[in-house]
């Protein structure tokens, strides 16, 4: 019942927002339209645009491209982050040498790399994947690194007293700990994979949701821009839902916040 109530309220917020948007962009208030459709479009036009995309099926191609880029960026960035994270955590000297460079690259706004990737890799999906990788990599890397270094000393001592050798420590202690940190940042890293893909598309591409928005913007088609944003938002919510399901499955052993027993 509480859940249904909550859902009703959430839907209510959406309806009110859209209603206000519709009224202000359609009916004049004191002889003046507050949200001129040229700049703000109208909910009806946006809905028509979205419907047209799905009716013609043209949207599926763009969705697929963005999804593919996001998935590839996430997978490649995660593999890289896990490998380097393990390497640095196990070889502190190496980590110390590379530390300033890691910080430097991480501090760099990744958007400035987009033109370079376009030059190197072309207008196809790989320049967007590369941009996503630079975002995902650091999140996964920092979490894996932290996960290995923050293994409880007692758990580690216990593992050694139980007779674990180096390889077994890796498998039963370091790996699960690193994975738990990585999975707990899954929402962030998946989110950044999508950001990398869409921003990359926006800056120069032949397909994808970012490309769609950029094209609409190029011809002052505000309804198209808003429609693209709505499709993107729905796309992100679906992905986030899938991530939540995966996370629940993978982190079953972790106490929920406030559920820790003394």
């Amino acid at each position: 019942m509480a859940r249904l109530n909550l859902l009703a309220l959430q839907v209510f917020v959406a309806i009110v927002t859209i209603a206000i948007w519709y009224v202000l962009s359609t009916y004049p208030v004191f002889g003046k339209i507050v949200l001129p459709p040229f700049f703000f479009s109208t909910p009806v036009d946006v809905a028509k645009q979205v419907a047209a995309w799905f009716a013609s099926g043209v949207i599926w191609k763009h969705l697929w491209v963005t999804l593919l880029e996001s998935i590839l960026a996430f997978i490649i960035g995660s593999i890289g982050g896990v490998l380097v994270g393990f390497l640095f955590a196990l070889l502190p000297r190496l980590a110390a040498v590379f530390d300033p460079y890691i910080k430097m690259v991480n501090a760099l706004p990744r958007v400035v790399l987009a033109p370079i990737f376009t030059l190197w890799l072309g207008l196809g999906i790989w320049s967007k994947v590369a941009l996503g990788v630079t975002l995902v990599f650091f999140i996964v890397f920092f979490n894996v690194y932290q996960g290995i270094r923050e293994v409880s000393p007692t758990v580690l001592a216990n593992a050694r007293m139980l007779g674990m050798n180096g390889w077994q420590l890796m498998r039963h202690v370091y790996w699960p700990s690193a994975m738990s940190w990585m999975f707990s940042s899954l929402h962030t890293s998946v989110g950044f994979a999508v950001v990398g893909a869409v921003v990359g598309e926006y800056l120069g591409a032949a397909a994808g949701l970012g490309y769609l928005i950029q094209q609409a913007e190029g011809v002052f088609d505000v309804a198209g821009v808003f429609a693209g944003m709505f499709v993107l938002a729905a796309f992100v919510i679906v992905i986030d839902f899938v991530v939540t399901l995966i996370e629940r499955r993978l982190l079953i052993w972790r106490p929920a916040v406030g559920d820790q027993r003394p």
Binding site: S152, R160, G163, Q168, W253, R261
Partner: protein, 268 residues
Amino acid sequence: MAETAAVALNEVVVAFRVARGGTFTAVDRATLRVADGEFVAIVGPTGCGKSTLLNIAAGLLTPYAGGAEIFGAPLAGLNTQAGYLFQADALFPWKTALDNVAIGLEIAGTSPADAKPRAHEWLKRVCLGAFADRYPHMLSGGQRKRVGLAQVLIRDPKILLMDEPFGPLDAQTRQIMGNLLLDLWSADRKAVLFVTHDLEEAIALSDRVVIMSAGPSSRMIGDWRVPLPRPRDIGEVKLSPAFHDLHREIWHSLKAEVLKGYAQAEVA
């Protein structure tokens, strides 16, 4: 002593380097022998280095001087014949109770198919048969200690090292855990080195109680035999006159050290 001791600490010195080139001596020339099958408790005030001594017997720490012998052989590296029950939570949080117990066997090469039923047996022995699928965070503090006990004992170590294992538990649970420990121990009488700050617990459980002085430079200052008959029930043994006499005698010598320990802690 003609018989070789299960654990022998010979003139062990534990010292740490501190800033400005000095050294801080935590434990000064501590000597201790634990015979095979003997249950020895080390009691001392907070911060006297009793856990440190245990870590040396486990091989987790190398002494500054002196050394440890395990069944007559000098200890180098980890003590592979010992099981260690830690004070803090040491279970693998990402493994179920069953997997936590089975892991000790699996590491040694037992196949999971063989290890799991045996782990289940052990969970039943510590009265947790119904909790095999629980993860550590779903268990109470006492239940986690039981899993820890099963995890250590399933490997059948010759020596059991225990670092205030029941410290964080409430009084009733401690008593139940103590009886459970004695019950399991009486089956095959391993050598036990049990560290605690609780003198009553030490007397009720052990064959011998060793008292350490307050740190720094703490030493062994007393060694008492506990002449109470076995098998014991901790609740009942604490009511016997012999227990009270011994407790009074030991407390008399421990009290001065406890006060000294507090005084030093306040200065620091």
